[in-house]
């Protein structure tokens, strides 16, 4: 299933690429695309699992502490 998040405060394109790279490595994440321009992250996940969301948020926080993840 597909889910999208708003990445508030995402202000550099390189950071978007890094977030994308690391979120892709999370178990249960099949595909991910981070758009720097729309500040949106679209993830394709195997199942709707709170654990995966938590992990995603953690990875984003580790990569870019100033970016806030909002579900929408």
């Amino acid at each position: 299933m597909k889910k999208s998040f708003k990445l508030k405060g995402l202000d550099c394109a390189n950071c978007a690429a890094k977030i994308e790279e690391h979120v892709k490595k999370i178990d249960g994440v099949e595909d991910v695309s981070v758009s720097f321009m729309t500040q949106k992250m679209t993830v394709e996940i195997s199942s709707e699992d709170e654990e995966i969301f938590k992990k995603i948020k953690k990875v984003v926080k580790r990569e870019e502490p100033d970016v806030k993840v909002d579900e929408n």
């Binding site: 202000d11 550099c12 394109a13 390189n14 321009m37 679209t42």
Partner: protein, 612 residues
């Protein structure tokens, strides 16, 4: 943003003073440089330190901090400040540019309606469009956005569809007409019966599509991301080697000299210009296209459009209007008006498209009491008695059967011969009309060096070929069943070069398999057709085939910009790296290579937004 601008200005003034005024005690100069540096760079240094603790060394803040602090250490104070100052100017500019293009896209997305006025229990309530149910009536006042798709039950007005179609001429609507959410009601008060929930309404679908367009990345974007991943570590490693090997291993000159070169490397080690300008360019291209009513579902499709070699069109509804209309009335012995009247009367009991087009052309009320009898003659036509006169209307077989001498007509389309009281009275030509815009479309494609324009149709050979000839298409395949179309497109796919792309343009109905197998599937008249929006890669909101040419032009322009940026940025950086390694380039040039290139690349990218 304001804050950092003030910081930059203050820092810049201090920097200029320190540069221009030779104080007696040069500690004052150095002090000024350090203050100027701290004002503008403290934040970067702090972020760098924070990131080191997270184990991230190749972070751009870290690189900037190391390069500038290193410059201080070897006594290059002005360089240190300049690098940080211009780096911040670049960042500020980047923010500004990104913000600007985001805004211009969101203004496009400003079509999202916030409120709906719904009629409930005799009162008008103001609620969120999400809460309106199908079947309810909503009221839209002049100047308001239509919040949900529906049908007008009361009132008439002019509506502005430009947000959806890019078409600036308002459309006249009245009771019975379907209206789409996202249009603006200009002057009349409308009551609309809602036919789709908000989530299913046109406006939601379009917003969704535009918002998600940037998630499908182009090859260029992926290339840049990959390039950035290797570029930075490689430059940093070379910088380290440059600082150590020549002075200590090869005994070539002073360590500080080589350290300076190494630090200069670090200044250009950030691939920011590229990483930011490429998606910005695509984003601008997609945004610009949306403004003209062309929705491109992803950067990858925008990129592919530039390599279009073959454009395949469906005929009916795409190149032609898709509705049968009376094209010609040729009367013999009576007036054209009369001929049309008898024909319309005779066919008035049928719901066949041909009968409908006759009635539409006649455009007057039919007095049923004057039709005495009507008999359908299968495969030939109709025999009827209208106002006491015997009317025969049908094909050549009918005329021959009834022994009526008529003048055969060779025009393309459906020909109805009419005889009144067994005397030939003329013929009526009914045909699908080629869209005015189709001529422009084909011309534009040829001007854009498209190798082949092809038409596929299920229609008869004679009809299809006549349309293709008139439009000047290169190839035409007629009398195809839906799976025949798939076969033909598969064949055509083999005709193109390796990089070339095949674009299929259809109306989105019944075309799904062909849309899916072509490189780029384009659905036309996307407004209101969910199937089309789902199946296609590019949706043209209006029914103008010439928008294909526009889309290809936008794509080519975007790709030009993207390529210019990639080549320009990489070339300048590599040049500066080489010059620096041999001791010719200085940190000043490096600052230009980094910030200057970013700024220029971004300005270049912003051009993609502009569509003529």
């Amino acid at each position: 943003m304001k804050k950092s601008l003030i910081q930059i200005i203050i820092s810049f003034i201090l920097f200029l003073v320190a540069m221009a005024v030779p104080f007696e005690n040069d500690l004052i100069n150095k002090g000024l440089y350090i203050i100027a540096y701290l004002i503008v760079g403290l934040e970067i240094v702090w972020k760098a330190i924070r990131n080191i603790f997270r184990g991230k060394v190749f972070d751009e803040h870290f690189l900037m901090a190391i390069a500038t602090i290193g410059a201080f250490v070897i006594g290059e104070f002005p360089e240190a400040v300049a690098v940080m100052l211009f780096y911040q100017v670049g960042e500020l500019f980047q923010d500004y540019a990104v913000d600007k293009s985001r805004k211009s896209i969101t203004s496009l997305m400003d079509i999202r309606p916030d409120i709906a006025f719904v009629k409930r229990n005799g009162k008008v309530e103001k609620i969120s469009p999400e809460d309106v149910k199908v079947g309810e009536n909503i009221v839209v006042k002049p100047g308001e956005k239509i919040p949900l798709d529906g049908m007008i039950v009361e009132g008439s007005s002019m509506i502005d569809t430009s947000a959806l179609t890019g078409e600036s001429i308002p459309k006249e609507v009245t009771v019975g007409d379907e209206v789409l959410s996202g249009c603006i009601n200009e002057n009349g008060l409308l009551t609309i019966k809602v036919e789709k929930e908000f989530g299913e309404s046109t406006v939601s679908k379009i917003l969704d599509l535009v918002e998600n367009a940037s998630s499908k990345k182009s090859k260029s974007e992926n290339f840049i991301t990959k390039f950035a991943k290797y570029y930075t570590p490689i430059v940093v490693i070379i910088a380290v080697l440059l600082a150590i090997i020549p002075p200590f291993v090869l005994n070539l000159g002073e360590f500080t000299e080589w350290l300076y070169r190494a630090l200069t490397f670090l200044v250009v080690s950030c691939p920011c210009a590229l990483v930011i300008s490429i998606p910005l360019g695509f984003f601008g291209g997609i945004g610009g296209a949306s403004k003209t009513g062309i929705l491109v579902k992803g950067s990858n499709y925008l990129e592919a459009l530039a390599n279009t070699e073959i454009v395949v069109f469906d005929k009916t509804g795409t190149l032609t209007e898709g509705v049968f209309e009376v094209q010609k009335v040729e009367a013999n012995g009576i007036s054209k008006e009369e001929l049309l009247k008898y024909a319309a009367y005779a066919e008035s009991n049928s719901n066949h498209p041909i009968s409908l087009s006759l009635r539409k052309a006649y455009n007057k009320e039919i007095n049923q009491s004057s039709i005495l009898k009507t008999e359908e003659l299968a495969g030939r036509g109709v025999s009827s008695n209208v106002e006491g006169r015997e009317v025969l209307i049908g094909n050549d077989k009918l005329m021959e059967e009834k022994n009526i001498s008529y003048t055969p007509c060779n025009e393309i389309g459906t020909i109805l011969y009419v005889a009144i009281d067994n005397k030939y009275a003329g013929y009526i030509l009914i045909a699908d009309k080629i869209k005015e815009d189709s001529f422009k479309a084909i011309k534009e494609l040829k001007a854009n060096n498209i190798k082949e324009t092809v038409m596929l149709t299920g229609d008869k050979k004679q009809v299809g070929e006549s349309v293709a000839n008139e439009l000047g298409l290169d190839k035409v395949y007629t009398e195809l069943l839906p799976d025949g179309k798939v076969e033909k497109v598969e064949e055509l796919m083999k005709d193109k070069s390796e990089k070339g792309k095949l674009v299929f343009v259809g109306d989105g109905i019944n075309d799904a398999p062909v849309l899916a197998i072509s490189d780029i599937g384009v659905a036309m008249g996307g407004l209101g057709s969910d199937a089309a929006i789902e199946a296609a890669d590019v949706v043209i909101m209006t029914d103008e085939p010439s928008k294909i040419g526009t889309a290809i032009k936008i794509s080519k322009k975007t790709m030009r910009i993207v390529k210019q940026n990639i080549i320009f940025a990489i070339a300048v950086k590599v040049l500066v790296l080489i010059l620096t390694a041999f001791g010719i380039g200085t940190m000043w040039e490096a600052v230009f290579a980094d910030v200057g290139v970013s700024v220029l690349a971004i300005i270049n990218s912003l051009r993609a937004l502009k569509v003529k």
